[in-house]
Symmetry: C3
Subunit: 247 residues, 3 copies
């Protein structure tokens, strides 16, 4: 049995960029026994809102008693505070800029702890490596816990628990996930985006090759897809586009 | 010594997509001691044939007594069955849609076991996470083995052991691997693709800068390359193009 | 405590390519207990000079007593020799083509050991997998050390310790790192590239949205960036462009 909790990384760093490796170098030094897993990088860059909804949707896939290190942080170096949140038995560590707030708003229970710890030396631009990674490592090792930090009433920036009627993520197949939770949509609902109205199908294999449809994706979001081709290219879809619900 | 076997991932998921992280989250929960290695993602999307040849070629690099979790599965949610194959001391787990079949046809010995286990809860679109990953974890831990499953006569979909005279993979240098095994080609063979005839060289350093040639690549396939530049861009090469063998 | 040292990978392999997975398959077999971390892939392809400066800058982030497996090796199959370097308590393994030379020139102390070991079977094109990975594993396990190899007077190819006045890396946000160390530049220095003169700011949050500036990045290099947008796209920046220092 591992004595250190697993650490999941969620960021808008590029997979090819030099950031993820440096974060892992810190974790290797500070929590060498912890399993470190890339949950998602290349979350919508500079887009805290879309990223917050994506993180909230993916969080159900993260095992309890894990640490999530979340960095989508265009305001790094500015005034936003670092924060650790205990949400339903998972620790989330990241900037208090709204990124964690959808997950917090949807959690059965959440406690918010501003992070007082500061690194002895830090760059001005890379809190992910210099501040959040060491804190995640301390949480993973159990060297830091709820009893060691002062609790705050809540987050500074809250986006709320409601859905986001936008495209929040396009994957490399060209599937476009929205910030709408599928469970709340009736099967006869149509999604309207870029002037196109899209009907529901349960699964790719249920529609003809090339046809566009929406379905409940693997993290519970309504996603616009096409059988064996790219829905994003067919309909010119991109993160940030508004999605309306029709009949 | 690790008590759990290593698990190698082979898929057409995007490296940047949200799929790989979710598969790893399941493996972290179900086989926390197993080494998990990304053998290849972004295998040709929706292209089971090219992917099957790529997997067969790469399999020689996977240590014996490992598990390979293979997912190129455009028909997910349809009728194809999940299958575990014991091929020359390695377990392959994936859809019975042809993906494993080239490796099976080329193995000295292979036994095919349809997977009867079903997850208590599953999405309709992500068997990689919900079904194949837990099965791979059980195999890695030794909780599941050949004695626990009913053996089938063979795979439903078989592409056979023969080479595929197509470009099956283009890497980021612009090298274009074919489905032709280099060992079977004489050195004076020329590869003809897109109207261009290409001669052999042993290695990059043997041709002038910028010159296009073919050679036996590191997994035994004939690959079209250029010294210090992109052969794919020079010759407009893409996965799926037919390759003829000339003199 | 792990008994095998961590191994950091630095290469110009594509993150999506089939190379990294094969290197890790070898490490899994030869050093199964070692932590393997992708420090950086997609270093400037075919560009040993830019890669050497990037490696030197990133090396400070690698914990002491680690192994760095570095492969940017357009001359593979030619005459350059493989080499292991002990630089300030870190082992670097790679081709003696200049890649390691900037790090070596800047180290307080460095010892150079040509690698005499050769694999029983090797491809002609993939020393990263066949030669450097096994050697890195031996170093990680302590089966190979300074006492086991003959020391050379120095590297064959040396780029020296001086800065490189070029763009050496563009990340996915569109930030363009130069080979100039920021510490040596006064804050009133301007960087001139592509006919544009760029002033300094301490951090992203200090400039208006969309404005281009340079700053000292997280690995100590002067980097051209823009607040919440892509500096590379705004100024048409690419690896290899010359950068002049103005006032």
């Amino acid at each position: 049995m591992k004595t250190e909790k697993p650490i999941f990384l969620f960021s808008d760093f590029g997979n090819a960029d030099l950031y993820v490796g440096q974060v892992k170098a810190v974790l290797a030094r500070c929590a060498p026994e912890a399993l470190v897993i890339d949950l998602l990088h290349e979350a919508p860059a500079f887009n805290v809102g879309a990223s917050a909804h994506l993180l909230a949707a993916m969080l159900g896939q993260v095992p309890p008693a894990s640490i999530v290190l979340a960095v989508v942080d265009p305001g790094v170096g500015g005034g936003r505070r670092p924060v650790a949140v205990l949400a339903d038995d998972r620790w989330l560590v990241g900037p208090d800029n709204g990124l964690l707030s959808v997950a917090v708003a949807r959690a059965a229970g959440a406690r918010v702890f501003p992070v007082a710890w500061r690194p002895p030396r830090a760059s001005v631009s890379f809190d992910g490596r210099d501040l959040f990674a060491p804190v995640a490592a301390m949480l993973a090792r159990g060297e830091l816990g709820a009893g060691d930090m002062e609790e705050a009433a809540g987050l500074d920036v809250c986006f709320g628990a409601e859905d986001l009627a936008e495209i929040i993520y396009v994957d490399h197949y060209g599937n476009a996930a929205t910030g709408l939770r599928a469970q709340a949509l009736p099967c006869n609902a149509r999604l309207v985006v870029n002037g196109r109205s899209i009907g529901y199908a349960r699964v790719f294999a249920d529609v003809p090759r090339g046809e566009v449809f929406w379905y409940g994706n693997s993290v519970g979001l309504a996603e616009i897809a096409a059988n064996s081709t790219s829905a994003a290219r067919k309909l010119d879809l991109a993160t940030g586009q508004r999605v309306a619900i029709g009949r």
